[in-house]
Each structure stands twice: as C-alpha cells, then as structure tokens.
Symmetry: C2
Amino acid sequence: MSLPALTLESAYEHLKKVNFTMCNLDVAGAKKKHGDALLWCNLGNPQGVGQKPITYNREVMAAVTLPSLIESEAISKTARARAAEINDCLPGHSSGAYPPTAGASVIREQIAEFITARDGFKAESGDVFMANGATEAVQNLMRLLVKQDGDSIMVPCPHFPLYTGYLQYIGATYASYQLDETKAWDVQEAELHRVYNEAIEQGHPPRGIVVINPNNPTGSVLSKESLTVLCRFAHAHGLPLVADEVYQRNIFEPEQRPFIAVLKIAQELAAQGECEGLQVISLHSASKGLSAECGRRGGYMHFHNIDKKLVSAFDDILSMGCPNIEGMVAMSAIVNPPREGDDAYDKYQEECGSLLSALVRKAKMVAEAFNSWEGMSCVQPAGAMYAYPKIEVPPKAVAAAAAEGIEGDALYVNELLDTVGVVVLPGSVFGQMPNTHHLRMTILPDEKELAVVLEKWAVFHKEFMAKYQ
Amino acid sequence: MSLPALTLESAYEHLKKVNFTMCNLDVAGAKKKHGDALLWCNLGNPQGVGQKPITYNREVMAAVTLPSLIESEAISKTARARAAEINDCLPGHSSGAYPPTAGASVIREQIAEFITARDGFKAESGDVFMANGATEAVQNLMRLLVKQDGDSIMVPCPHFPLYTGYLQYIGATYASYQLDETKAWDVQEAELHRVYNEAIEQGHPPRGIVVINPNNPTGSVLSKESLTVLCRFAHAHGLPLVADEVYQRNIFEPEQRPFIAVLKIAQELAAQGECEGLQVISLHSASKGLSAECGRRGGYMHFHNIDKKLVSAFDDILSMGCPNIEGMVAMSAIVNPPREGDDAYDKYQEECGSLLSALVRKAKMVAEAFNSWEGMSCVQPAGAMYAYPKIEVPPKAVAAAAAEGIEGDALYVNELLDTVGVVVLPGSVFGQMPNTHHLRMTILPDEKELAVVLEKWAVFHKEFMAKYQ
C-alpha cells in the first residue's frame, strides 16, 4: 500500500459534495484598496463589527467562571445572584465539572419558563436540550431526522446554507420551497405541495420541514397565516416541523409583523382540535438577538410531541458530548433577564433598547435607499439583521458574469466591493428564483458609516446599470 | 400517513445500534442507602467530585469574558496580560464575535509553541484545529477517516467507549487490539497484525488506528517500544495514527514511564529515514490533566503529514460551526501557563503540584490495596486518573450474574455499590479479554475518603469471594 493513506480521495465519501462556501470575494484586494474604510456587511456577527456586549450577560458569565466575583462589588447584584444560582445547581457546584448532557437543570427550567411566558402554553424543562450553539443543534437534529442516504428535508428558499451544507455532508439532500417575495416573503401553500410531490417522485422522501422565522437572509417575519399553512402542511404529511427561531428577539414592526412561535400556533390549533400531535422542534440561540454572543456557542432545541423513547435514545447519543457551560450561561442570561427592581434592570433595558431602535432605523434606511434606485427593490426587513434586495441585473451584465463563470449577482457584488468597499453576499449563496438576482447585506454596522456607504453605493448602482445597459 | 411521523423506528437508521450506556447501576438505591457518604469513582470528572480549579486558568477565562477585569487588581497581572493578548487577536477584539473556525490565531500559535517545546520538533499553527472539547474533535475525525458504511477503525482494548459508540453511530465499526495486561498494558505487535487481517477478511477495511496514551481506563502509560511498534505498523499498512493524548499532563512515574508524544516518535523515526510520511493526528483537551475544565469544552487536534487539500476541505466542513471561546481560552491557559517571574507563577505551581502529588499517592494506595487482596490484581496506574484492577470473579458469581443477564464484573460492581457505597464501572463497559473481569475506578476523590472506602472494600471483597466460593 502506498502512503499517504488519508487523502481527499480516501476520506469520507460525502466530504467533497458539500457546498458551504459563503462566497469567493476578493476581500484581500478590497482591503488593500479601501483599508479601514471597508464596511463588513457579510456576516451576522454583530460583535465582529463593533456591537458592544450586553453588560449583564457578560457579568453573569464571568461570575460563573470566577466565583470570587459573586462576592465582589465590581458587578451588579442581579448578575451575582444569577451566577450563584447556576453554580449551585452544577455537579460539584462547579462550572468545571461535566454538565448534564441536555444542559444544567436550572437553565433548562429557565428556558421552559421563558417559552411558557412567551407562548401562553406550559413548556417542560425535560423537553429542552441545550447545545454548543443552535448550529450544533441543527446538525444533531438533521442527523436524527434523516433515516438514510438520499432522504430529504424541506427547507425554505432563500435560506441560510447551514441546512443544505450539512444535509449534503450526511449523504442526504434538500427540497426547497420558494418564499413569495411579492408578499413580503410569505409561504405559498401550493408551492409546499409541489415541492413535496417532486421530492417523492425523485426518490428523496422528505423527513421533515424547516421554517426559519425571522428569516435569514430575507429579514422577513412570517405572517400568522403562513405559519398556520406550514403547521397544516406538516401535519397532513406527517412531517416534524423544525422552527429555527434564532432571531425571535429582533422584531422591528411588532404591531404589523409580530413574532409568533410555531409552537404557539401548533398549540392553538390543537386546542381547536386541529393538527393534533403535530411534532414541532424549536431552536433558539445565544448568538443572535441583541445579546449576539456568537463566540459562546449557546443554544437549545425544544421537543414538542416527540415520542419519549426517541428522546431517550437521542439523549444517549448526546451523552457522547455535552454543551459548554459558558454558552449555557449566555442562554440563561437571555431567557432570564433582569426584572424591574433588579439593580441591573435599567442599564439592561437601555442597552437592549438602543441596539433595537438602531436596527429599526437601519432597516428603514437601507430599504428606502434600495427602493429609490432604478432596477433595485427591497422588502423592508421586519426582523433579524439582514436586507435581501432584488437587483434587476441587466442581461449584458449576466452575460459578462457568465463569461467569468459566475452569476450576475456575484458580478454586481464583486464590482460593488471593489468600487464602494462594502462586503455583501450574492443571492446565489442563499438561493433565489431562476433568473432573479439578490444580495444579502447585514444592517449591523454603525448607522453613520452605513449612510455614507449608501450614498456611494447609489452612485455605483447607477453607473453599473448604465455600464451594462 | 399516520402521525406522529418521527419515532424511534422512522429516525436515523443507526441510532438504535449505538451502545454508549456507561453502566446500568442502581445509583438511586445506593443514594438512599448511603446518602452523602456515597463515593463517586465512576467518571473522569475531577471538579464534579470536589477538585478545585486552577486559579490562573479561571482568571484568564473570566477576564476574556469581562474585559473590565483586565484593568482590575482583583486578579493576577499574568492573567490580565494573557486575556488582553487573546482579546486583541479576536475579530472585533471581542470574545462575542464568531472566532475563526479552526480557533483564535494567537491560541493556535500558543499550541504550536507548546508542541514544539514538548517534542523538540517544530509544529505549525496552521496544522492546529480547535474544537468544543477533544470529544468533538474525535467525532469530526472519525467521520473524516471513515470513507463509507462498514469501514472500521482500529481501537485499543480496553478503551473509552466514545470511539466505538460514535463509530456505530456513523454506520462504521471498530476492530479492537488487545493491550497486554501482563506487560503493564503495552502494545503487542502480533496482535495488531491479527486484528488488521481479521478486519480485512470480514469486509471491514481499517481506515485508521487509535492509540490512547496515557490510557483510559487502564491508567497505563505506553513504553517507547510500544509507541514505535504502533508507528511502524500504521506506516506499513498506510493507516493514519490517531494519538489521543488528553491525559499527557498526568504522569505519575516520569522516570520509568514518561509520556512521549506519538508525534515525537514519528519525527524521530523519520529523521532516521524510517516511517517517512506517517500521518499522525494528535488530540489534546482542556477537560483532563490538572486543569480539569470539563465544562468548558476545549480541545484541539493537530495534523501531521496530512495533505493540504484534505485539510482545506475539512476546514470548510468545520466552518459550518466553530469552537466556543471559553474552551479555547482554557486550552490557552494550559499550553501557556505562568512562567517564572510572573506574579501568578508560585500559586500556579503550588496548585498543580499538590494535585499531581495527591494523584501519585492515590495511584500507589489503590494499587497496593488491590494487590494485597486475594483474587484481585492491579497494574499500578502510571498516569491519567484511573485504576483498572482485574478481579478473579468466582465461577459461581459468573453463573449468578448470567442468571440476571449481566456480566460477572457487573455483579461485583453492583454488590460493591450496595454494600460499600462506592460507584465504579465494570470492565465490560471498556472491553476486556474473554473470561477476564475488571473494574474501572477513578482516583479523583479525596485521599482520606478513598482510604476509608478501601478498608470497607477489603472486607466486602473477602466476603464476596467467600460467598461465591
């Protein structure tokens, strides 16, 4: 046998099938040209572009790690009390011990209380399974749902490519249902049936359906009607409904487009005798929302109507690892914030409030700009941290892109990067209707910088459209 | 289609094949009987049984989380400087941003320097990939090595069941090579060839070979001869050699049984023109050693002689998630401890020294006790945190166990738990030669409590042997 033994050819057979490249932008070139003026609007990574952490969250985490802080005046009483409560429930009263596989008991209880208060239906801590970020939860869940190679999971289009990439990695596939851009990215019932039937015909039986709400990359928040359609569809076809709700805290138009948990809709329907037994698996994260603690890797999944035998077998699998304690504490801080009267309350409210109101202003600002340009339109983001404008890329630009072996939106995004110095991602990374073009930009950077960039971008856009007329 | 859709039957096909149950002991019953006197010697979870964390490690972690501590006199200057250095290298200078997939650059460099200093051969930070604990690294690695269903990985017997459990989960299998108990659990060359050929014959081609050194569950440290045999064998058969070295810091007889990294042996052989190109993948963890930060989930793997194309494809897969920052910082604290002259140095030395010397005394104490009892013998642990004594379970006891559907060692362990109130695990969890019986106990609890338990255990042992004579 000849060495070396382990190569790309001899390794795991599905390794090469995965397409998770977020984009091939010439960022190095742009850095050289634009230096520090380069504006990063490519990743949902708030603290990576200057967002400050919420003080209370960090205080709780630090005091769990260094219990001497619990006796210190350096941090808020609220945080000290919460850290003490968490440490008390841990094995050996130490954050250095292995926590239970499903998460620290007191934090699972806090999560159940949070869900109960949010939806008005009682949630049980035993149904909560914590993870190293919602990403790990998604991966474990996809592996659980897919029975065998070639099975599929239904995912929205556009969508964050974690689902599709991981499904390819485990030898499964996906069937994407298109969201309706003309209706603020809502769900179309006929489209669900079409995609389901097509997947069955092609020998890729769906094993579950994913909804991402608020959505990444569109920044849309689904209507109650859309969520009801999804519940009825999932129930009719016997599919577990996976509700990726990691952006639930970032809601910009709470009156017109409130966040409603899939779990709540499912239970309301069941209370009316409809969709009984519908299986819902909900995901939440410490990386998103206003806390934005991406580096902590905290998240959870919550099981509804899942057979106890399956939950127990799944728990056995999870027991081969466990979630990290700081990610759990970050999640705890999010679901158990300071209450009125707590010494950390005012600062917490002020920090969260100013982050949220800035997002609301920025969502409006970018949508208004895009909608005022010829050949560009944008559903105003109602949540999350993204805008997903549509670009009418001229046929000549599409042809020029094709000559380079890229999509029309990638050409636009590359030229935008070079000319204006703003990093965004082409819609082809997330999926879009054939012959349409989009880009995803985050609305995370500083408002003033964003405003300056939009002015330059307007000029670029006009020139791009003229150039390829 | 009838609901519910997702059941144990409809879920992932390999879910039910996994055997990772550590043991089915009646711990609830024992708790009732023995109360707080119950001695937990079942899990390698030091801080779960009262071990105190190393102060310096916790200070660095807390200051990365709460940067205001970097300006505070409450913690050591050393920790403050180290935390500042880490925060400076993070995206957005924030531990709340997504860290790079492979780990924070400055920590990967510290790890490379640690390996270089340890082995005397230059390591590169680009070959270091951090993970949410060595467990996650093991899982990602097994998935990478196994090309397709039915392939095998060679693992030692006895071994920690993470490898076998995870291999079952991904549809692969394992081929175990027996360590030689009569030679302090060293590796037998003929056994490696026998197992390899058998796996090939049975249609389970080995895709890699694992060595665990120091070993869990035996507490043994492999001789240089054993490690050389492994390198030559792996090279001859073109197998990547996975070196699980998470216990490398816990060495009890550094003169007679020093820890030598597989990577060092491989490079020494290569320098002599032997085993050139041998692929070594080494694992380390923040959960073990003296730091014992199990809850943090920190660890890394280091690639040696692995094709860059494969490393790049693997990096793409890893980019679907990322390691948590606190686990990384824990790992940093371990590979970059206080140096002479640092203000944290003396305390650090004292804390580590007293933990290690207690382990050395306890290893001797338990082995001496076991070796003085009739029908029990024990290779004195030379490292890690376990003893793995052999019990001559009388045939009558084996028959009584069989009548209950359990192994003879499980019967012993159950009766020990009930009578003495000490929780240990039967050898059948870890693997053992047919018709031999063992148990694994940790040597983590307090010395005095351990001494008291051993006295009671001696009485129990005598009675057990007499009862089944």
